[in-house]
């Protein structure tokens, strides 16, 4: 296909006598000719589309396989025995679908405990983030007072700093507060580090809510607090849902903070899932219960895939919302 780099311009009457150019004739003509030319260009375009979408299709398919293969392999291997994992071909269907490795992973390797720890920490962490985040965002976006901008920028500045910079002092602060190896400490830290984006995102959203409803409620005698919980929160629901999912995924997948804050003696009882699995993976080198490791991986992947399947649209919107802004 030769390229035709004509500037984009509407076909005007001045061009009504233009002849088709050599490379296939582009319709710029008047009504009578346009029909024939369009059919012609539609035909060349069709073959071009076919070739390109053929190549593109292969690329898309290959990538889809690249994405699915490791996950499917993990899933299949979780049912295999150690011998099968080592001697069978990687994509062979297991001899029998045994859930034994799941039992071992859940109880012996403590994956059940880690899983529940994660659920507990993330539930409270996300709830706290949403409550505090929306409170701060609401006040900062809808009330004028001295220091408003300063506080807002204080929150937003948190987006610019790498967590690694804070890691060492954070460890010391949490230690001094006596919160090292405690759920309270981890939850508070999760909330703190989720606040910048949550405030930034929700402040922008609260700003767009109409004033008239708020004023009507005030005239009816609603207090500020009541106005927030009864009127503003329900109105902000779409934004709240997006950012809640965003925070759940972020906190569920968090690794650096728990690894830094839940360490030392006896801490392994309070580990979250990511931490637990990372440690099983390193330990597996010696114990070599690969099936249990694959079962543990499957248990951590499946819930995310299920949640994702249900909230696919919101998740994609939520995760890209910050970037498109």
């Amino acid at each position: 296909m030769t390229t035709n780099s004509k500037p984009i311009a509407p076909a005007g009457p001045a061009k009504s006598t233009a002849r088709p150019t050599g490379d296939g004739g582009q319709p710029t003509g008047d009504g009578r000719r346009a029909g024939r030319d369009r059919r012609h260009s539609a035909a060349t375009q069709k073959s071009e589309v076919r070739l390109l979408s053929g190549l593109g299709h292969i690329a898309l398919l290959v990538w889809a396989i690249l994405v699915i293969a490791p996950l499917l392999w993990t899933f299949l291997a979780s049912f295999k025995s150690n011998t099968e994992i080592f001697l069978g071909s990687p994509f062979a269907i297991p001899d029998s679908f045994s859930f034994a490795s799941y039992g071992r992973a859940w109880s012996e390797a403590n994956v059940g405990r880690y899983f529940l720890n994660s659920v507990f920490v993330v539930t409270l962490g996300t709830a706290g983030t949403m409550l505090f985040g929306s409170m701060a965002a609401y006040v900062l976006s809808r009330y004028r007072f001295f220091g408003n901008r300063a506080i807002y920028y204080l929150f937003v500045s948190g987006l610019a700093f790498p967590v690694f910079l804070a890691l060492v002092p954070l460890f010391l602060i949490v230690n001094n507060l006596g919160l090292l190896n405690t759920y309270t400490g981890l939850i508070l830290v999760y909330i703190a580090y989720s606040l910048p984006f949550t405030v930034f995102f929700l402040a922008a959203f609260f700003k767009t809510l109409p004033n008239s409803v708020a004023e009507a409620a005030m005239i009816d005698g609603a207090s500020h607090t009541r106005l927030f919980f009864r009127i503003m929160m329900p109105m902000a629901k779409p934004a709240l849902v997006s950012i809640t999912i965003f925070n759940i995924i972020g906190q569920w997948n968090q690794y650096l903070l728990p690894v830094a804050l839940m360490q030392g003696q006896g801490a392994d009882q309070k580990w979250v899932l990511t931490q637990g699995i990372a440690s099983i993976s390193t330990a597996a080198g010696y114990e070599a219960d690969w099936a249990a490791l694959f079962a543990a991986l499957t248990m951590s992947i499946l819930p995310m895939i299920v949640v994702y399947a249900f909230f696919q649209r919101q998740i994609q919107n939520g995760l890209t919302a910050g970037a498109v802004k």
Partner: protein, 303 residues
């Protein structure tokens, strides 16, 4: 609206600000001070030693190794990820050709968009652990199992210093592409349909359409993507920790600053030195973001 206004404002801000200042602002502020001390966690008071940590940093081979790795990650990961994601996003949104001037994606677009995004919802650590098995040096690994099945020699993905870092790059790209496909799709869907229609009528083919219509109109999104991927390249800690042999090995071949900060702080208790590395990382990140925004600055195309 005035009654009880200040108590309300204070009441609503107190808790979030307190938590935030304690756990985010205070550590950041302290990090800069700690970087100038020799604190090792044992002595009660850190001793102020000025810029000595930074002098030591400049002579530290492993530090420079980590910086070089960031350089490679900074170029390879964004370039390849953006190229692949752009191509896929184009296929999924415009690749199906025009139906009465309206551009559609290729067949199965919805399916691909959902599947490509999968890795994004998985924790980086979990992805790392999965790939530590995929890359396993013997037949039990997915890749080596497949290689030996067709009669090839197994590859030591993580143990060979020449390819270990590239194996990590591949995982980072594997995980990132889906997100940027969705991001670019969002950008492409905001391009008015008439522009494509006009371009079709003027005989633009797909390649032309991509380079002359889509790419310029997507410039802002691309810039954001580059900054995001660049910042992510400064933070490859989780994947390096679970995937590399010996935490950043073999022999430092895959180490990154995050890994060194973590190691110096929590394995060697060199809190001061680790903080100095944190400060260095901070300035590298800021410089990168500022440079990117500066270099890629250009006139926005008005729609």
């Amino acid at each position: 609206m005035r009654y009880g206004r200040y108590p309300f404002i204070v009441g609503f801000l107190a808790a979030p600000v307190a938590i935030y200042v304690t756990f985010v602002i205070a550590p950041y502020a302290q990090a800069f001070y700690l970087a100038m001390t020799n604190w090792r966690g044992v002595s009660a008071n850190p001793k102020f030693i000025g810029l000595q940590n930074f002098e030591r940093l400049l002579q530290d081979d492993i530090f420079w190794k980590a910086v070089r790795h960031h350089g490679l990650l900074l170029l390879a990961v964004p370039l390849i990820t953006i190229a692949i994601a752009l191509f896929f996003a184009f296929m999924l949104n415009v690749g199906g050709g025009g139906r009465r001037g309206e551009m559609t994606g290729v067949w199965g677009s919805r399916f691909y968009r959902v599947v490509f995004f999968f890795p994004q919802v998985l924790a980086v650590v979990i992805v790392g652990v999965i790939f530590s098995r995929v890359y396993a040096p013997d037949d039990s690994g997915l890749l080596n199992g497949a290689l030996t099945a067709v009669g090839l020699e197994p590859v030591l993905f993580m143990a060979d210093p020449d390819i270990a870092l590239w194996s990590i790059v591949a995982v980072l790209i594997w995980q990132a592409v889906g997100f940027y496909v969705v991001l670019f799709s969002a950008g492409m869907s905001s391009v008015p349909k008439e522009i494509y229609e006009a371009a079709t009528i003027d005989g633009a083919n797909r390649t032309n359409m991509f380079f002359r219509v889509t790419l310029p109109l997507l410039w802002d999104t691309l810039q954001v993507a580059w900054v995001y991927l660049g910042i992510a390249a400064f933070d490859a800690f989780a994947i390096v920790q679970v995937l590399s042999v010996d935490q950043g090995g073999p022999d430092g071949a895959t180490t990154v600053l995050g890994m060194e900060i973590y190691r110096n702080a929590f394995s060697y208790s060199q809190f001061g030195y680790a903080s100095a590395m944190g400060v260095a990382l901070f300035f590298l990140t800021i410089t990168f973001a500022a440079l990117t925004l500066r270099v890629s600055k250009r006139e926005t195309i008005e729609l």
